[in-house]
Symmetry: C2
Subunit: 342 residues, 2 copies
C-alpha cells in the first residue's frame, strides 16, 4: 500500500528522451507531432499508468473542466430529471458536473454563485430560487464571459440565455382544456411568488377565462404558502367549502394536483364529473395516482440536454463573442382520467 507518486509528463518524457512539451502535445493529439511519436508516447503513458492532472491543466488554462448546476433542490422529480439530462451531455464532452442547492433561499443562491465562481466553473446552469428577484449575483459570470444559462425558473431581466417553456401559453392551454370539458368555475392554486414562472401560468389561466367570457372570481384563486402536497390539500378543502365550489381546479404542479385528488376523494367528490383536475409537469406520479392526473408536459430531460449543449457551444466560441439566445420549448396538455369528461 505504498503511496506512489503520480506519473507526470516529465516522467514520460525522460523515459523516452523527449521533452515534456512534446509529450504534452502528443497526449492531446497535436497535429505538429508525428503519428509515430504520438503513438509511442501514448503507449508509454499507458504503461506507466499516467493520469492527466486536470487540476494543473485547469490552472494553466485558467478554466476548470466543470459545469456548475445551481438549483433549488435535487429532490423534485422535474429537477432531478433536468440534472440527469445535463449530466449525460456534460459527461460525454468530458465535463464534470458540480451540483449546488439553493433550497429556494435567495441568500444561499448568492453565496453559491460565489462558490461556483471561485471554483472556476467553465459554465453555469441555473434555475432560480423561488423568491429571487435581483440577479446582480450573476453579473460576475457575464462580465467574465463565463457561459450562463437559466433554465425553467428564469429571471425577469434579459441578462443571459435561457431554456424554458412558454408558461403563459401552457397555463392558457391547460385552462382551455378544462373549459372544453364543460367546466366553467375553474379554480387556480396560486403557488410561488409573483415573480416566478407560476405567475405566468396564472396569467395564462386568467386570459383563457377571459377569452371564454368566463368571470374571474377571486374566491377561486387560492394562494399557497408552499408548493407541497399538504398545502394543496388545505387549499382544496377551502375551495370545496365554498358556497359555490369550483367544478375544476388547475394545479400548476403535479404534486399539487395529487393533493387536490386526495382532498376530493376524501370528500367523496367524483373526479372528473364533479371536479375536473389538471396538474403540471408530467411527473411519474401523475400516471400512477388514481384517477390518473391530466397534466401539462414539461420536457425536463430535454431541457437539461439543451442547457448543457448551449454551454458547450458557447465554450467553443471565441471569448470576444457575446451570446444570448432563448429556447422556448413546446408543451402540450396530456389528457388523463382526472379531467376527461367528454
Amino acid at each position: 500500500m505504498i503511496n506512489k507518486k503520480d506519473v507526470t509528463i516529465y516522467d514520460i518524457a525522460s523515459k523516452l528522451n523527449l521533452s515534456s512539451s512534446t509529450v504534452s502535445r502528443a497526449l492531446r493529439n497535436s497535429p505538429s507531432i508525428s503519428k509515430k511519436t504520438i503513438s509511442k508516447i501514448k503507449k508509454t503513458a499507458d504503461e506507466m499508468g499516467y493520469r492527466p492532472n486536470t487540476l494543473a491543466a485547469s490552472l494553466r488554462g485558467n478554466k476548470s473542466n466543470s459545469i456548475g448546476i445551481l438549483v433549488p433542490t435535487v429532490k423534485q422529480p422535474f429537477l432531478s430529471s433536468l440534472i440527469s439530462g445535463i449530466e449525460v451531455i456534460a459527461q460525454k464532452a468530458g465535463y464534470n458536473v458540480i451540483i449546488a442547492q439553493s433550497h429556494d433561499s435567495y441568500e444561499d443562491e448568492v453565496a453559491l454563485t460565489k462558490a461556483l465562481y471561485g471554483s472556476r466553473v467553465s459554465g453555469i446552469i441555473c434555475s432560480l430560487a423561488m423568491h429571487t428577484k435581483k440577479t446582480a449575483h450573476f453579473q460576475k459570470f457575464i462580465d467574465k464571459k463565463i457561459p450562463l444559462v437559466f433554465v425553467d425558473r428564469i429571471p425577469k431581466d434579459n441578462i443571459a440565455s435561457r431554456v424554458m417553456i412558454d408558461n403563459y401559453a401552457a397555463g392558457r392551454k391547460a385552462t382551455m382544456h378544462l373549459i372544453s370539458q364543460g367546466c366553467n368555475r375553474i379554480a387556480y392554486l396560486a403557488a410561488g411568488s409573483d415573480y416566478s414562472i407560476f405567475n405566468e401560468r396564472k396569467k395564462g389561466y386568467l386570459n383563457a377565462l377571459k377569452e371564454a367570457n368566463l368571470p374571474i372570481e377571486e374566491d377561486l384563486i387560492v394562494k399557497l404558502d408552499d408548493v407541497t402536497y399538504e398545502d394543496a390539500i388545505k387549499a382544496t378543502n377551502k375551495l370545496l367549502d365554498l358556497k359555490n365550489p369550483p367544478d375544476a381546479i388547475f394545479a400548476p404542479a403535479d404534486i399539487l394536483g395529487v393533493g387536490v385528488i386526495k382532498s376530493a376523494k376524501i370528500r367523496g367528490i367524483k373526479i372528473p364529473e364533479e371536479l375536473a383536475i389538471i396538474g403540471f409537469n408530467d411527473d411519474p406520479i401523475a400516471s400512477i395516482v388514481d384517477p390518473e392526473l391530466s397534466t401539462v408536459y414539461h420536457p425536463s430531460v430535454k431541457m437539461g440536454e439543451i442547457s448543457a449543449s448551449k454551454i458547450l457551444e458557447y465554450l467553443k466560441k471565441p471569448k470576444s463573442e457575446d451570446f444570448m439566445d432563448i429556447s422556448l420549448l413546446n408543451t402540450d396538455v396530456i389528457v388523463r382520467a382526472s379531467s376527461k369528461r367528454k
Copy 2:
C-alpha cells in the same frame, strides 16, 4: 465589459507592501500573523475583489476540494434525496459535490471512477450499478488513501467503508408484518441481480416464511427484468393469474408497490382484504397513492449525511491511518392502508 484579470495574493501583497506569503497566511488565519495584519489584509482583499483560486491551492496541495458522487441515476427519489443529504453536509464544509451517473452500467461505472480519480476528488461516495460484481476499479482510491464510502448498494467484498441498512432484517420485518396481518401466501417480486441488496431483502423474506412455518412456493417468487412500474404490473398480473394466487405481495421498492396496487385495482381485487401489499423506501409516492402503501422506511437523506460526514472525518485523519467502518442504520415498517388488515 472588460475581462479584468483576477486579483491574486501578489496584488494584495504589493498594495500593502507585504509579501505574498504573509497574505496567504493571513487569509487562512495563520496564528503566526498578527491580528492587526490579518484584519488589514482581509479588508484589502475584500476591497480589491479578491477571490481565492481554489484550483491553484488544489494543485499545490495535490487535492481538490470536491467530493465525487457516483450513483446509478439521480432520477430515483431515494438517490436524489441521498444526494441532497450529501450536498448539504459537503457544502457546509466548503466542498463541491461532483455528480456522475453510471446508469446501472458496469462499464460506465468503471470509466467514471477513472474520470473522478483523474479530477482529484478528495473523496468518493458510491452506490453501485445494479450488476457490478467486481470492485477492482475502486482499488486506486484505496491505494491512494482517498476516502471511499459505499452507500446503500454496496459491494460484497469488504474493501471500504459503507453506509447501509440491514436489508436482510428489513426484508424479514416486512414479511413478518404481512404474516402478522394473517397473510400466508406471500409473493415476492424478485428485482435486481443476485448480487444486489435486493437479494438480501429476498433472503429476509424467505427466512421469515421459514420461521413462520410457511411453505416457500417458487410460483410466488416472480423475477423482474427491471425495477419499473410496468414490470411490477406485469409480474402482478402473472401472480394473480395463478390458480392459487397470493394473498399478499412484498415489493422491494415503492415504485413496484404502486404497480402492484395498480394491477390489483384494475382487476377489482380488494386491498388489503384480498391482497395486502408492502413496498420499500417510503418514497413520497407511497403516501400519495390510493390506498396508501405500507413500506419500509429507508433513511435516504440521513444516509447521505452520514456518508459525507465520514468522508470529511477521514480527510481530517493522517494519511497513514487506515479507515473502514460500517454504519448499519435501523429501518422500520411503516404500516399504511395497503396492508392493514387488523
